[in-house]
């Protein structure tokens, strides 16, 4: 196998992982594609070191995450004024997708449709909620690490993640144990 073929195989192995990281953080396909390209251009320059390294996936993920966050922060100053005007919990009142059945939505949805639905709901969150949520759930960063990376307070990270989860719950029509119990109690009454 030539070097070019090896790199092509490497690219095919990891492109989904890198693209997913960039896509979930930026919520923009063309930006995610640009970031993925940049990650692999950097990887190509160091392919000799990366090839066969056990930490290659981690390296790619870290570069993708940092480039995505750099990209977001580059445009943050331009956008923050407008985005701060949007209520922090914006989107919570937006109606979710209406499915024919309400109670057993989970069962009626094919798994792939469900995943696409969740992915879309995640990407429709405002950046202030989506970015910390993605960093916590997909990048396994702790709250304090997220606060440091985003340059915001720990309290704001906690609030944004809570609001993000709450917005997702509404968009996905998620029923939590507590609600189910109260619903059953109402039915009994």
């Amino acid at each position: 196998m030539t070097d070019a073929q090896q790199f092509e195989a490497f690219l095919h192995n990891y492109q989904n992982m890198v693209f997913s990281t960039a896509m979930r953080l930026t919520a923009n396909q063309s930006e995610a594609e640009d970031i993925t390209q940049e990650v692999f251009l950097r990887a190509y320059e160091r392919f000799g070191e990366l090839q066969g390294s056990p930490t290659v996936a981690g390296w790619l993920k870290t570069v993708a995450r940092n480039l995505s966050l750099n990209h977001l922060s580059r445009y943050r100053s331009r956008w923050s004024f407008f985005s701060e005007m949007v209520r922090g919990d914006e989107g919570d009142d937006e109606p979710g997708i209406d499915f024919p059945a309400t109670d057993d939505t989970h069962e009626n949805l094919v798994a792939t449709d469900r995943r696409a639905f969740v992915e879309q709901a995640l990407q429709s969150l405002p950046p202030s909620q989506r970015v910390p949520l993605v960093l916590h759930h997909f990048e396994d960063l702790q709250y304090d690490e997220i606060a440091e990376k985003l340059g915001i307070s720990l309290g704001k990270v906690k609030t944004d993640i809570f609001r993000g989860r709450e917005a997702l719950r509404r968009k996905l029509h998620l029923k939590l144990k507590e609600e189910e119990e109260s619903g059953q109690a109402c039915e009994r009454v």
Binding site: A27, F82, M85, G96, R115, Q120, L122, K171
Partner: protein, 153 residues
């Protein structure tokens, strides 16, 4: 916030997000990346970033830049020391001085005009400028919120 509810919310959302897996990259992306690598690899050395230039060329470029900078500093020092300057440089300096004098006259005229207008006119002018600025921001915000709202379907 109810801690019990928060735990349940976290678990519920985590369950949904854990089931997501990786997003498939667009099929054309791999070819686009390979084409970009090919393009970069075939570019001439001077079209690539400085850090990828051959060591000798990097050294030569750095030396040339340092010499140019040193020459500029030395030239400026000579002028301040009153050294005889070449006629082309003296002419350029005279032109620059004339331009500076014209700008100075304009600035003085503007300053005297403003001082004669009075505070009331200045306040009104500032209010008009602020109003125009606020209108632009308001229209921009409306555009961002309405036109660029993420689609939910």
């Amino acid at each position: 916030m109810n801690p019990q509810y928060e735990k349940q919310l976290e678990a519920g959302v985590r369950r949904e997000l854990d089931a997501l897996g990786e997003l498939p990259a667009p099929p054309a992306l791999a070819n686009r990346i390979l084409a970009a690598i090919e393009k970069r690899a075939t570019a001439r050395w001077y079209q690539q970033s400085w850090s990828t230039w051959p060591l000798a060329l990097r050294g030569a470029a750095l030396t040339a830049l340092l010499l140019a900078f040193g020459g500029l500093c030395f030239g400026a020092w000579l002028i301040t020391q009153g050294a005889t300057t070449p006629s082309w440089l003296a002419n350029g300096y005279a032109d620059a001085s004339a331009l500076w004098r014209a700008l100075e006259v304009l600035a003085n005229t503007a300053a005297s005009l403003i001082s004669r207008l009075g505070v009331g006119v200045l306040v009104i002018a500032a209010a008009v400028i602020f109003g125009a600025w606020a209108t632009c921001i308001g229209l921009g915000t409306a555009y961002v919120r309405l036109a660029m709202r993420p689609a939910v379907n």
